[in-house]
């Protein structure tokens, strides 16, 4: 126990925590920026192949992180199409991989939320003469708390995955080492207190975020119905 507590006081551990949060939050930011409008557009749009897009999007929610890591690795490696950016084994590459990983989650969940609301609101809004962008904004505003849940699901996935960041980040000490890759490494090295300490911090962060989201949604439910 004493060993465990002393681990929590190491500055190195907190550097790792901060980098993990920076990477995952950036990825969530980018994925939300693209995923929310994409989900909303698929929800209200009518175009050929729409069903196929929805099936694909739902399937991509289960994208294996190592496969995404491999694809981004190939993309960013010297010989790859984006090799000249020199991003491989940097936090930038990790953000990119996680963005790709969670984009389908955010897009698919927001698509569902917007589509359900749209089905309910459509006739009433048209009856009031509200159409197009204004109708879309009204619906988006009304499902904003469901969208928050979609974004949090993405964050949960990003902060918990190890495969993608391991491959494209390389788990370089002080540069690309994050919580999950450290836990994997330290466990295999036999340094269980550090691995355990990080594990506790990771679970703590995820718990706090979800509790916050839950309370916010509850409060919103009471306030707005």
């Amino acid at each position: 126990m004493a060993e465990f507590l002393s681990v929590l006081q190491q500055p190195r551990l907190w550097e790792i925590v901060v980098l993990s949060l920076q990477v995952s939050l950036s990825a969530v930011g980018f994925a939300a920026l693209v995923g929310l409008p994409l989900g909303a557009a698929i929800a209200v749009g009518r175009f050929p192949g729409r069903s196929a897009v929805i099936v694909l999007l739902n399937a991509l929610m289960g994208l294996p992180p190592v496969v995404v890591g491999l694809a981004v690795y190939l993309l960013l490696s010297r010989a790859g199409p984006l090799g000249s950016l020199g991003l491989l084994f940097t936090p930038g590459a990790m953000v990119m991989a996680q963005t790709i990983l969670i984009l389908p989650i955010i897009a698919a969940l927001s698509r569902q939320a917007v589509e359900d609301a749209w089905r309910e609101y459509d006739e009433q809004l048209r009856s009031l003469g509200v159409e197009g962008v204004r109708a879309a904004l009204t619906v988006l505003w009304d499902v904003r708390f469901s969208l928050l849940t979609a974004v949090l699901a993405g964050l949960g996935r990003a902060s918990a995955e190890v495969g993608a960041v391991m491959i494209v980040g390389g788990n370089i000490d002080g540069v690309t080492r994050v919580m999950t890759t450290t836990i994997a490494l330290e466990t295999s090295k036999g340094d269980l207190p550090l691995a355990l300490g990080l594990g506790v911090v990771l679970i703590g962060i995820v718990l706090v975020l979800n509790a916050g989201a839950f309370l916010l949604k509850e409060a919103a439910q009471r306030r707005f119905g």
Binding site: E123, S127, L128, G129, R134, F224, G225
Partner: protein, 228 residues
């Protein structure tokens, strides 16, 4: 004036068979028929929510959307206060100083004390009255009601009917779909009887109930719904 409303050989898939009729200003019109007869679809065709498969729906005049309102069987409320729901409708209609008008509408339906409550936590009857307040605020020339009391208890139904009468008294043309004979008698001046997507009969309420002109209507009134 956007009335009268003319339907010329309007059909919709196989739900509404080609149908021609004219709805004039004045008397309250009840669209009566069994479940699945096509009442709701007919009303949506009139209100312009769906386009006819063939034929034409013709209003007389311009700014047609703004001058009609519809209240649905299940009210759809936005996630905001009761008052804000009415204000939203007014602003969508281009009204600038919407707040006082919205408040007056809530008073009219007896919901002023719930103005700041979230609309979605109101009871079914209250939500339906709120839907009527939203329509009231717009001062529509025509109000379409699609079985507005179908899922309400008797006391909530009475309150809704009182508001519908107020619409009628204020000069709004009421067009209401119902399968409730009592309600048709209480609120209607004339009946359009729909059976299997066809307009079978059109008559003043009194005559319709005393001397129905078709066997289908007679059976419906007696409670023997012909299903074949």
């Amino acid at each position: 004036m956007i009335l009268s409303l003319k339907l010329e050989a309007v059909s919709f898939l196989n739900i509404i068979q080609p149908l021609t009729l004219e709805i004039e200003a004045g008397p309250s019109t009840i669209i009566l028929g069994a479940n699945g007869a096509g009442k709701s679809v007919l009303m949506r065709l009139m209100h312009g929510l769906i386009a006819p498969t063939s034929g034409a729906v013709l209003w007389n005049g311009s700014d047609v959307r703004r001058k009609q309102a519809m209240v649905f069987q299940r009210p759809v409320m936005l996630r905001r206060s009761a008052l804000a729901n009415v204000v939203y409708a007014l602003e969508a209609a281009g009204e600038r100083d919407a707040q006082p008008t919205a408040m007056a509408a809530l008073k009219e339906v007896g919901l002023a004390h719930l103005a700041h409550r979230p609309a979605r936590v109101l009871s079914g009857g209250e939500q339906q009255r709120l839907a009527l307040a939203r329509a009231w605020a717009l001062h529509p020339e025509v109000l379409f009601l699609d079985e507005p009391t179908a899922s309400l208890d008797p006391s909530a139904t009475r309150e809704i009917e009182a508001v519908i009468r107020a619409f009628d008294a204020s000069g709004t043309k009421v067009v209401m779909a119902t399968h409730n004979l009592g309600q048709a008698r209480r609120l209607g001046d004339e009946v359009l009887f729909i059976h299997q997507g066809r307009l079978v009969e059109r008559a003043p309420v009194e005559r319709f109930f005393k001397q129905p002109g078709s066997p289908e209507a007679a059976a419906f009134i007696k409670g023997e719904l012909p299903w074949d």
